[in-house]
C-alpha cells in the first residue's frame, strides 16, 4: 500500500494502460467478433473525425455544428451568470429574499435540468430558445449557490466597517460583497460551464436541428457508429477546453489575491 513509484514507472505504466485500452479496442474491431459497423476501430474514428471537419454531415461540417452548439451554450451560460450571480449575492445580503427563494430553489434542485426539455420546447421552440433554456437550467444553480456562499462568508468585520462608515447598501454590495466573493463565484462558473455543456448535449439529442448532439443523433439514425464516436470526441475536447480556460482564470484570480495554496 502506498508504495511510492518513480515518475518514469508511472509514465510507462500510463502508456501501457492507454496502449492496452486502444489495442483492445482496435483488436476487437479488427477480429470481427463485433461487426465493424457497430465498433469502428480508433483509427477509423480518427479518420471520420478528420473527414467531418471538411465534409458536411446532417447539414453542416463538424466545426459548423460545434459553432452552433457553442453559440447556444454561450447564450445560456451568460444568461445564467447574469441572473444567477446577482441573485446569489442579494440572497446573501437580504435575509428576507433568502427565506423566500431558498425553499423554492431546494425544491427545484431535484428536477434534473434535462427534465425541462418538454417545457423548453413548448415555450421557446426547438430552434435556439429551447436549448438555451436547458443550458440555463443546468448552469443557473451553481452560479446562485456559489455567489450566495461567497456573500455569506465575507469577513463580517469588512461589512461592519462599511456599515459603521455609513456606506449605502448598494455600495456595500458592489464594493465589498462582490469583490470578496469573486473566488467563490469563479469556482461556481466552472461548475456551471461543465453542467451547462452537458445539458446542452442532452438538449441537442432530443430537440435541435443543428449542433453536435444533432449530428450524433443523425449518425445514430443512419447507423454510422464512427460519426457518433467522432461527435463524442469533439464534445469531450470542447468540454475539456472550457474547463481548462476557466481553471486558468481561477488560478490567475487566486494568485492575484495571494490565495494560492
Amino acid at each position: 500500500m502506498n508504495r511510492q513509484i518513480s515518475l518514469l514507472q508511472s509514465i510507462v505504466l500510463g502508456f501501457l494502460g492507454l496502449a492496452c485500452f486502444l489495442g483492445f479496442w482496435q483488436g476487437m474491431s479488427m477480429s470481427g467478433l463485433v461487426s465493424n459497423i457497430f465498433l469502428p476501430s480508433p483509427l477509423e474514428v480518427y479518420e471520420r473525425f478528420t473527414t467531418l471537419i471538411e465534409r458536411r454531415f446532417a447539414g453542416a461540417t463538424l466545426p459548423g455544428h460545434l459553432a452552433a452548439s457553442f453559440m447556444r451554450f454561450a447564450y445560456g451560460f451568460l444568461l445564467a451568470a447574469l441572473i444567477g450571480i446577482p441573485l446569489g449575492l442579494l440572497m446573501g445580503w437580504y435575509q428576507l429574499l433568502d427565506e423566500i427563494v431558498s425553499p423554492l430553489f431546494d425544491a427545484l434542485r431535484f428536477v434534473a435540468p434535462i427534465a425541462w426539455v418538454p417545457f423548453a420546447a413548448l415555450w421557446f421552440g426547438t430552434g435556439i430558445g429551447g436549448p438555451i433554456m436547458i443550458i440555463f437550467a443546468g448552469a443557473f444553480p451553481p452560479c446562485v449557490i456559489n455567489a450566495y456562499r461567497g456573500a455569506k462568508f465575507v469577513d463580517p468585520r469588512l461589512i461592519e466597517a462599511a456599515n459603521m462608515l455609513g456606506t449605502p447598501s448598494r455600495r456595500v454590495i458592489m464594493e465589498v460583497l462582490l469583490p470578496s466573493s469573486i473566488p467563490s463565484i469563479i469556482s461556481g462558473l466552472r461548475v456551471s460551464a461543465g453542467l451547462g455543456w452537458q445539458s446542452l448535449v442532452g438538449a441537442e439529442l432530443i430537440v435541435a436541428s443543428a449542433g453536435v448532439g444533432y449530428m450524433m443523433v443523425q449518425g445514430q439514425a443512419n447507423i454510422q457508429t464512427h460519426t457518433v464516436m467522432a461527435g463524442m470526441v469533439a464534445i469531450g475536447l470542447v468540454g475539456l477546453a472550457l474547463d481548462s480556460a476557466l481553471r486558468g482564470v481561477e488560478r490567475v484570480i487566486q494568485k492575484r489575491r495571494g490565495l494560492e495554496q
Partner: protein, 240 residues
C-alpha cells in the same frame, strides 16, 4: 403556479393547477403514454436502481484498487482522463446503436454516468485515510482481505458515500435524458408524449414525479449512510 407569464409564453402553454390535477388523475387512472403512472414509475425506478447498483459494484472496487496501489493508479488513470470529459449524456446515441431502445441501453448509460463519480470519490477516500492507521495495520501484519474490509473500506466510506450521492443524481439525469430520447415506458416517456401532445399539465406531473423520485432515493441513500457511518460521529456531525 397561479402566476401566468405575461406575453413571453403563449397562453395555454402554462399548466394551471386544475389542468395539472386532471393530468394526474388521467395518468394514474386511465394511463398515458403506454401505461399508468405506477407502471412508468416502476420502470424508471427499476432502471435507475439496477444501473446504480451495477455502477457501485464495479466503481467502488476499482476506486479501492486505484487508491491502494500506485501502480494500478498509474495504469488506469490515463484511460480515465480521456473518457471523463465525455458527458454521460453523449453516450446515449452509442448505447442506442449498440443495444436498442430497451432496458439494456438505459442501464449502460446509467452505469456509465454513475461509475465515474463512484470511482473518483472512492479513490480520494482511500488516499485520505490517515497514514498512521495504514502503517499500524501493516505493522500488525494484517492479512490482505481483512485489511481491505476493516481498514480501507471503513476509512474511505465517508467519501464513498459522497460519491454515491453524486452517482445517484447522475443516474436520474441520465435516465430521464435516455427516456426522452426513446423509450416504451418510464417517466421520460410520459414527458416526451406530453410534449408532443402539447399537454403542459402532464409535463408538470412528470417533472414533479421525477423530482419526488430523486428526492426519495437520495433520502434512502442518506439513511443507509447514517446506518453505515454510525461509528463515525464526525461525519454525522458534519452532515448536521
Amino acid at each position: 403556479m397561479a402566476t401566468t407569464v405575461l406575453g413571453l409564453i403563449p397562453s395555454g402553454r402554462f399548466p394551471s393547477p386544475a389542468e395539472t390535477w386532471s393530468a394526474l388523475v388521467h395518468v394514474s387512472g386511465r394511463g398515458y403514454g403506454g401505461g399508468d403512472l405506477a407502471l412508468h414509475v416502476y420502470n424508471s425506478l427499476r432502471l435507475v436502481v439496477m444501473g446504480f447498483l451495477f455502477a457501485i459494484a464495479t466503481g467502488v472496487p476499482l476506486g479501492l484498487l486505484m487508491g491502494w496501489s500506485r501502480r494500478a493508479e498509474a495504469f488506469i488513470n490515463p484511460i480515465f482522463l480521456i473518457i471523463r470529459p465525455i458527458p454521460p449524456l453523449a453516450w446515449i446515441p452509442l448505447a442506442i446503436l449498440w443495444l436498442g431502445l430497451g432496458d439494456a441501453a438505459k442501464i449502460m448509460v446509467i452505469w456509465f454516468s454513475a461509475f465515474v463519480p463512484s470511482v473518483i470519490n472512492t479513490f480520494a477516500g482511500v488516499r485520505n485515510i490517515d497514514r498512521p492507521v495504514l502503517e499500524a495495520a501493516y505493522m500488525l501484519g494484517m492479512p490482505k482481505i481483512r485489511f481491505v474490509t476493516e481498514v480501507l473500506i471503513p476509512g474511505a466510506s465517508p467519501m464513498i458515500f459522497t460519491g454515491l450521492r453524486l452517482s445517484l443524481q447522475a443516474s436520474w439525469t441520465t435516465l430521464v435524458a435516455a427516456e426522452l430520447v426513446g423509450a416504451f415506458y418510464g417517466i421520460g416517456r410520459v414527458l416526451n408524449v406530453a410534449q408532443q401532445d402539447l399537454y403542459p399539465g402532464m409535463i408538470l406531473v412528470g417533472m414533479v414525479t421525477v423530482a419526488i423520485l430523486g428526492w426519495g432515493t437520495t433520502r434512502v441513500l442518506g439513511l443507509a449512510e447514517a446506518r453505515a457511518l454510525r461509528w463515525n460521529t464526525a461525519a454525522l456531525a458534519a452532515k448536521g
